[in-house]
Amino acid sequence: MTAPRIAVLTGYGINSDAELAHSFNLAGGKAERVHLHDCIDGHVRLEDFDILAVPGGFSFGDHIASGKVFANRLRYKLGDQLLRLREKKIPIIGICNGFQVLVKLGLLPGTEPASFTQTCTLTYNDSSRYEDRWCYLRTETGTPSIWLKGIERLYLPVRHGEGKFIPGSAELLKSLEASKQTCLRYYLEDGSLPPEGPDGFPANPNGSTAHVAGLCSSDGLVFGLMPHPEAHVLATQHPRWHRDGLKIEGDGLQIFRNAVNYLLRG
C-alpha cells in the first residue's frame, strides 16, 4: 500500500492544521489540509481519504461552547459522510478543539452503531483560565486505541480553557474504564495519579474527572485528546531540551506513526 492519505480539516478558526499535517508527513503519511467549506460544497470527499484528522484551534472562536458550532456544522452538513467513515472503519483523530468537536458530535466515546448522541463533555477548566502548560500522561494498559499502541508515557503540552472531562454518568465512566476507552490520563511526573480535587492541579490541568485526558471509541479507531501530540514531534519542542539534551524525536510522533502503520500493514 502507498502512503495513507490524511485529510486534515481547516477553516473557521482551526489553527494547528499545519503542524498536524507535518506530523503525519513525518510519520510516513501524506497529509492534505482540507477546508471544511470545500467538503461541504463537494470539492472534496472525506471518504476519499484514509484518515480524518480534526486539529486544534478556536473553531468559531469557541463561541457558545468550545467545538460546539463546528460540531453542529459537521453534523448537519456532513453527517452522512461522517457516519460512512465510521462504517468504513476509517481512523479519526481529534486534538484539543478537534477532541471537543468529536465529543460534542457524539463520535467519542461513541455509540454502537455510531450516532450523533453526546454522552460526555469537555467544559471549563476548574481554573476558568486558558493555559498553555506541559503535562505528564500515561496510557491505559490494554486500550483498544490503535493510536496509542506501544506507548506508555507521553509528555505533551495542553493549550485550552475548556478541557475538563465530564462523563454523562458514573456508570458510563465505569464502563468506559472497563473497556479501556479512557485511554489517556494526566499523571504526576513520578508516574502516580494526581490527588483528587484542587490539589491535583496543575498535573491535572483542568480538573478532569478521573484525570481523563483522552478517549477512544470501542473499536479503537476514533481517538481524541486534549494535549497536543503534534506540538511535540521535534526534539526542540521539548521545554527542557536545553537541560536534558536533544532526543531523536518528540513523544507525540509515535501516535501518528501508529495510525500510518496500522493502515500500511492492513
Partner: protein, 990 residues
C-alpha cells in the same frame, strides 16, 4: 420576532467562570458577595416556530451533560441581586455572530441580514449587598458603560415582576446619507473652532493650508465642472484630516526642531526621523545586505534563510485600551497582525509579542474620571490580547509587563507580530508590489460600521472626559483568521497585485496610500458592504471597522479571486478602479463627492516647527542614613517581590505560546518550566534548524534622569537579551516604538520644550547605539499624546521607548537558556559593574531616584557580545542570563530558581569600576552584563574565548538549595531557592 434562550450550569461544580467573577468581587472590589451563578442569554431576532426554537436550544445552545436551558422563561431564582449586561447596538458581538451561523446550520434555514443573535451575561449574586454595591459590581467589573448596557434587579423587584423582556439590538440610524460642503471661514479663530468641533485634530496652519488649496482659481473651475462645491465636501475634509493626522503622518518626527542643549548651543534638526532613524539605517546598510524592505511598507522585511524572508512590526494601541481595555487591546493585536498580512505580497504571521505598561494594580488612590482602575485595565488588556492572539492561532512568544503609576493616565499597550514569507512568489521578489491603472479596488473581510470613526485623529489627541465613544472598536479574530487563510491561498495563486491592511483611517488611509502606486483611483463608496444603513459617505471612507484588507486585483483575476473568497466564506467587494489621473476620486450613487489632488493630500501639510530645551535635572540621592546598615537579605527578597521583577507566569501562561509548533526557546524554561527566558527563538520551517530570535528592551524609569540613557539602555537591553539566547550581533535588526507625553509646548503642556528635548536625546541615543551595534532600524511607530487631563491634574507617561529586535539564528539547536543546569558548574559575571543605581529598581524600592543612571559602553559591550556568541556556537555555555532590573542579584536568583539549584558566589571577584559598595555590587543596573554558567571541563576554553572582555568567575552552582552571596569573608545574603520562589512567584498571581 424576539426569543430569549437562557443557559445555566446544572451544578456549581462546572460554573468556574462564575467562581472567577466571585473572586474578583471579593478580592478586587472587597465586597461581601457569598455566591455567584452565571447565566448566558441569547436573544434570537428571527422568525422561528416553537419546534425550531426548541431544537436550537436543545441541539446548539446548551450542553446536554452539564447545562440546562429555558425558552422565553427566566432561569434565575434564589438570588439577592441579578445583574445582566450586554453590548449596545452596533458593538461587535462575536459570540452572537457565531451563534447565528450555528442556528442556520442547525435549523437548515437561510437567514436574512435582519436575522440576528445577541448575547448577554446574567450574574446572580447572593450576599448582603446594597444597591450601590451591586451597581459598582455592574459598572466596574461586569460591564463597560462605553460599549455595554446593564441592569441591576433586586430580589424584591424580581418577585414583583419576574423576567427580563427580549430586546432587539438592531442598529437603526434615522438618517438619510448626505454630503455636506464645509465652508472654511477666513477668521482664524472660527477656522480652529471648526477643526475642534469636527474632531479633525488639525492645527490652524493646516486648516489655512487647506483653505488656500481650495481657493486656487484653477481648482474652483475644475470643481465646478465636476459639480463639486467650491469648499471641500465633508468627505474631502475628513480624508485630509485622517491623512494628515499625527497617527498617520508622524508630524512631530517630521518637524523642524530647534534644540538647545545645556550649554545654550542651538541646532536645527530637520526631521528626527530622517536625521536619526533613517540615517542610522542608511549608515549601517552597506554592512547589512540582508535588508529587504525598510520603512516603506507596513512592516520591515529582512532576509531569513535560503529562500525565505521575515517581517516584523510593533504597534501601540494606547488610547482605545484606556477607554475599552478589552476591545482596544484586542484590536491592537489583531491590527498589528494585519500589518504583517499587508506587508510585501502578504506575510504569514508566525509570532506575537506584547509589552504592557500600567500603574500598579494595587493603586489605592482615587482614579480620575473616565479612567479604569489599573487592576481592571491590566486584566482586561491582558484578556483582549490573549483572546486576540490565541484565537488567531499565532503564538505569543515574548513580552513584558512594566509598572509605574504615571501610566495611570494612559496605559501603554505595545503589540508586535513577526511574519514569514518566501523570498519569491510566482517568480517575483515577494517584498515588492505595484498597482496598475485599471486594477480593481477590492475590500475583503468585515463590514463597515460607525466603529472606530476618528480613531486616527483621536489617538492624536489627549484623553479627556469628552473623548468620543465611536473611537472604540472590538476585534473579531475569527473573521480575520478566515481572511488570513484565504489571503495566503490567493497569494500562492497570484490573484492580486497589491495588498495592504485597513487600520487607522480606514479606507481613506489604505486606498490613499495604494492610489499613490498607480496615480489615482475612482472609489464608489456606496458599493462597500455596511453593517447597517445610515452611514454618511465620509463615515464609510474613514471608519476603522476591523478585519479588513484592501487589494488591487487585475481585472483578469477578479473572477478567480471572487470564487476563492466565496469558497473560504470571506466577504469581498469591488469598490472601483485604480487610475493614473493624479486624483483621489470618490462617488456616491454615481455622484462625485470627492476629488482630491494626490500631491496635496500626501505632501500639502505644513511642517511643524518645535522648540526643545534641554536642562539636566538633579535628583536627591538616597540619604546615607537610609543606605547604612541595611539588611541586604531582606532587601534582596523584597526586590524579588517588586512588581517589575516578580514572576509574570500566571499571565503569560494564558497565552498560547506554542501553536504552529515552532518554539525552541519558550517564554518559560528551567527545571520546572517557570524560569523567565531572556528572549524567544522559534523555528518556523519544520525541516530546518534556522531560527528567528525576538527580544526587546524597555527601561522608562531612566528617563527621569536622562532620556538619552533611557533609550541607549533600551537598545542595549534588547541586544543583550537576543545575544543571551544565542543571536549573532551584526545580523540583527531593530524596531523603535516611541510613546511620549505631548512634546509640543502649549498652554496645556507648559513643559513641552523639555519633553521635546527628551525626545531629541532619545533619538540621538538610538542613532548612536544602533550605529555602534550595526543594528539597522527597519520599522517603527510613535505615539505622541500619552497624557490625561489638563493643567495641574495632568498625568503624563514617562518618556518610553520600546526597542524590539529580530534576526536569524543559523542553528537554533545551539540556543541557550537562563537556568542553572548542573551542580559544580562555574558561575561567571561578564561585563563591568559600575556604581549605577540611579533610577534603579533598588532605589525605587527606597523611594529615591538618584543621578547615576546606567551608561552604555557600546564598544566594550559589542566586543563582549561577539565573543559570547562565538563561545555559544562552540557549546561552551550551560546557561546565560542578562542582568537588568534589580542588577546582578536578580539574575543570580532567577538562574537559581529556574534551575532549582543553589549557588555560592563571592562578589569581591567581580570586575568593578573602583571600590563599589555592597549595595552597588548587588543591585547596580550597569548595562552589558550577564550571569553565565560553564561546566568545569569547559571553563578554560570559555575563559580563553572571552579573553579581553571583563569576566570573572565568582562561584559555583551547588546541589544544595542554598543561595549564598559573599563578599570575601562577609556573608551578604544567605537564603534558599524555596525562600526566593516564595517571594518571587505570588505577587502578581491575582
Amino acid at each position: 420576532m424576539l426569543n430569549r434562550i437562557e443557559v445555566a450550569q446544572k451544578s456549581p461544580s462546572t460554573d468556574s467562570p462564575a467562581h472567577r467573577i466571585l473572586k474578583a468581587i471579593r478580592e478586587d472590589l472587597r465586597l461581601p458577595a457569598e455566591d455567584a451563578t452565571l447565566i448566558r442569554v441569547y436573544t434570537l431576532e428571527m422568525d422561528l416556530s416553537s419546534n425550531e426554537l426548541d431544537r436550537a436550544g436543545k441541539e446548539l445552545f446548551h450542553d446536554p451533560i452539564t447545562e440546562t436551558y429555558s425558552l422565553n422563561k427566566p432561569l434565575a431564582s434564589n438570588f439577592d441581586w441579578l445583574i445582566e449586561a450586554g453590548y449596545k447596538p452596533g458593538v461587535t458581538d462575536n459570540v452572537g455572530r457565531s451563534a447565528r451561523e450555528g442556528v442556520a446550520d442547525c435549523l437548515g434555514k437561510k437567514l436574512s441580514d435582519g436575522d440576528q443573535v445577541y448575547t448577554s451575561r446574567q450574574v446572580l449574586l447572593r450576599g448582603s449587598l446594597n444597591r450601590e454595591q451591586a451597581i459598582r459590581i455592574a459598572t466596574t467589573l461586569l460591564a463597560n458603560d462605553l460599549i455595554e448596557t446593564w441592569q441591576v434587579i433586586s430580589r424584591e423587584e424580581w418577585e414583583k415582576s419576574p423576567g427580563i423582556p427580549a430586546v432587539s439590538r438592531k442598529v437603526v440610524v434615522p438618517h438619510k446619507p448626505e454630503v455636506r460642503e464645509i465652508v472654511l471661514p477666513e477668521n482664524p479663530e472660527a477656522l480652529q473652532k471648526l477643526s475642534d468641533e469636527m474632531l479633525l485634530s488639525l492645527t490652524l496652519e493646516e486648516m489655512q493650508a487647506i483653505r488656500a488649496h481650495f481657493a486656487e482659481p484653477v481648482r474652483r473651475a475644475d470643481r465646478q465642472k465636476l459639480g463639486l462645491p467650491p469648499f471641500p465636501t465633508d468627505v474631502e475634509l475628513e480624508m485630509i484630516a485622517q491623512t494628515w493626522s499625527e497617527h498617520c503622518k508622524h508630524k512631530i518626527f517630521a518637524a523642524d526642531v530647534e534644540y538647545t542643549d545645556e550649554k545654550g548651543e542651538t541646532r536645527i534638526i530637520h526631521s528626527l526621523f530622517k536625521t536619526f532613524i533613517k540615517a542610522v539605517t542608511d549608515a549601517v546598510r552597506p554592512k547589512a545586505p540582508w535588508l529587504k524592505s525598510v520603512f516603506t511598507d507596513n512592516a520591515g522585511i529582512i532576509a531569513f534563510c535560503d529562500g525565505w524572508d521575515i517581517a516584523m512590526k510593533a504597534e501601540t494601541h494606547n488610547s482605545p485600551s484606556a477607554l475599552d481595555p478589552y476591545g482596544g487591546a484586542m484590536t491592537g493585536i489583531v491590527g498589528v497582525n494585519r500589518d504583517i498580512l499587508g506587508c510585501g505580497m502578504g506575510c504569514k504571521p508566525i509570532f506575537n509579542t506584547d509589552v504592557f505598561c500600567f500603574a500598579s494594580p494595587f493603586y489605592d488612590k482615587p482614579v480620575p474620571e473616565k479612567l479604569h482602575h489599573p487592576k481592571r485595565l491590566f486584566k482586561e488588556v491582558h484578556r483582549g490580547v490573549k483572546d486576540g492572539g490565541n484565537e488567531s492561532g499565532i503564538p505569543t512568544v515574548n513580552g513584558s509587563i512594566v509598572f509605574d503609576d504615571r501610566y495611570l493616565g494612559k496605559p501603554l499597550v505595545f503589540c508586535g507580530t513577526g511574519g514569514l514569507i518566501p523570498s519569491e512568489i510566482n517568480g517575483k521578489p515577494s517584498w515588492e508590489k505595484s498597482i496598475e491603472s485599471g486594477d480593481r479596488i477590492v475590500m475583503a473581510g468585515g463590514r463597515i460600521g460607525k466603529d472606530g470613526i476618528h480613531g486616527a485623529t483621536f489617538s492624536s489627541a489627549a484623553l479627556t472626559e469628552a473623548s468620543p465613544v465611536s473611537a472604540v472598536q472590538i476585534g473579531d479574530p475569527i473573521t480575520q483568521k478566515k481572511m488570513l487563510d484565504f489571503m495566503l491561498e490567493a497569494r500562492e495563486q497570484g490573484l492580486y497585485r497589491f495588498v495592504t491592511d485597513n487600520g487607522a483611517g480606514g479606507l481613506s488611509s489604505s486606498l490613499g496610500e495604494m492610489a499613490r502606486e498607480s496615480g489615482g483611483c475612482k472609489l464608489h463608496l456606496d458599493r462597500a458592504p455596511l453593517k447597517y444603513a445610515g452611514l454618511d459617505p465620509w463615515e464609510i471612507l474613514v471608519s476603522e471597522a476591523q478585519e479588513r484588507m484592501s487589494f488591487a486585483v487585475p481585472p483578469q483575476d477578479w473572477e478567480a479571486f471572487k470564487d476563492l473568497a466565496a469558497r473560504r466564506d470571506v466577504e469581498i467587494s469591488d469598490l472601483g478602479t485604480f487610475t493614473n489621473t493624479g486624483l483621489f476620486e470618490c462617488f456616491y450613487q454615481e455622484r462625485p463627492v470627492c476629488s482630491m489632488d494626490m500631491n496635496f493630500l500626501h505632501d500639502g501639510n505644513p511642517k511643524l516647527y518645535i522648540k526643545a530645551q534641554w536642562t539636566a535635572t538633579r535628583h536627591l540621592e538616597p540619604p546615607a542614613s537610609i543606605l547604612a546598615g541595611r539588611d541586604l537579605k531582606t532587601d534582596a527578597l523584597t526586590l524579588l517581590s517588586s512588581l517589575n521583577i516578580c514572576s509574570k507566569e500566571s499571565w503569560v501562561r494564558q497565552y498560547d505560546h506554542e501553536v504552529q509548533g515552532q518554539s525552541v526557546v519558550k517564554p518559560f524554561t528551567g527545571a520546572r518550566n517557570d524560569g523567565p527566558s531572556d528572549a524567544a527563538v522559534v523555528r518556523p520551517l519544520y525541516d530546518r534548524k534556522d531560527g528567528v530570535v525576538v527580544s526587546h528592551g524597555l527601561v522608562p524609569r531612566y528617563s527621569d534622569i536622562d532620556a538619552y540613557h533611557m533609550a541607549a539602555c533600551a537598545v542595549d537591553e534588547a541586544m543583550r537579551n537576543a545575544v543571551a539566547v544565542g543571536a549573532e550581533p551584526g545580523k540583527l535588526a531593530a524596531l523603535d516604538n516611541f510613546c511620549w507625553p505631548d512634546p509640543v509646548e502649549s498652554p496645556s503642556t507648559p513643559d513641552g520644550q523639555y519633553k521635546m528635548a527628551q525626545l531629541v536625546r532619545a533619538n540621538q541615543a538610538l542613532y548612536d547605539l544602533c550605529l555602534a551595534y550595526d543594528l539597522p532600524l527597519i520599522s517603527g511607530k510613535d505615539s505622541m499624546k500619552n497624557d490625561y487631563g489638563r493643567g495641574k491634574n495632568r498625568i503624563s507617561v514617562p518618556p518610553t521607548l520600546l526597542v524590539t529586535i529580530i534576526g536569524p539564528v543559523a542553528d537554533s539547536t545551539k540556543s541557550v537558556t537562563m537556568d542553572f543546569k548542573n551542580p559544580g558548574d562555574k558561575i561567571y559575571v561578564l561585563g563591568l559593574t559600575c556604581d549605577e543605581l540611579g533610577a534603579s529598581e533598588y532605589y525605587h524600592m527606597l523611594e529615591a531616584i538618584g543621578n547615576t543612571v546606567p551608561k552604555v559602553d557600546a564598544a566594550a559591550n559589542l566586543n563582549l557580545y561577539r565573543k559570547l556568541f562565538e563561545a555559544i556556537q562552540k557549546n561552551l555555555l550551560r546557561s546565560v542570563h542578562d542582568c537588568s532590573d534589580g542588577g546582578l542579584w536578580v539574575s543570580l536568583a532567577e538562574s537559581s530558581l529556574a534551575g532549582r539549584l543553589g549557588c555560592e558566589v563571592d562578589l569581591s571577584k567581580m570586575i568593578q569600576d573602583g571600590g563599589l559598595s555592597d549595595i552597588a555590587l548587588l543591585f547596580s543596573e550597569s548595562q552589558g552584563r550577564f550571569v553565565v554558567s560553564v561546566s568545569p571541563q569547559n571553563a578554560k576554553a570559555f575563559e580563553s574565548a572571552l579573553q579581553g572582555s571583563a569576566m570573572a568567575c565568582i562561584g559555583d552552582v551547588i546541589s544544595e538549595n542554598t543561595i549564598q552571596v559573599n563578599r570575601a569573608d562577609k556573608v551578604l545574603i544567605q537564603t534558599t531557592v524555596e525562600e526566593v520562589l516564595e517571594k518571587w512567584q505570588p505577587p502578581l498571581n491575582l
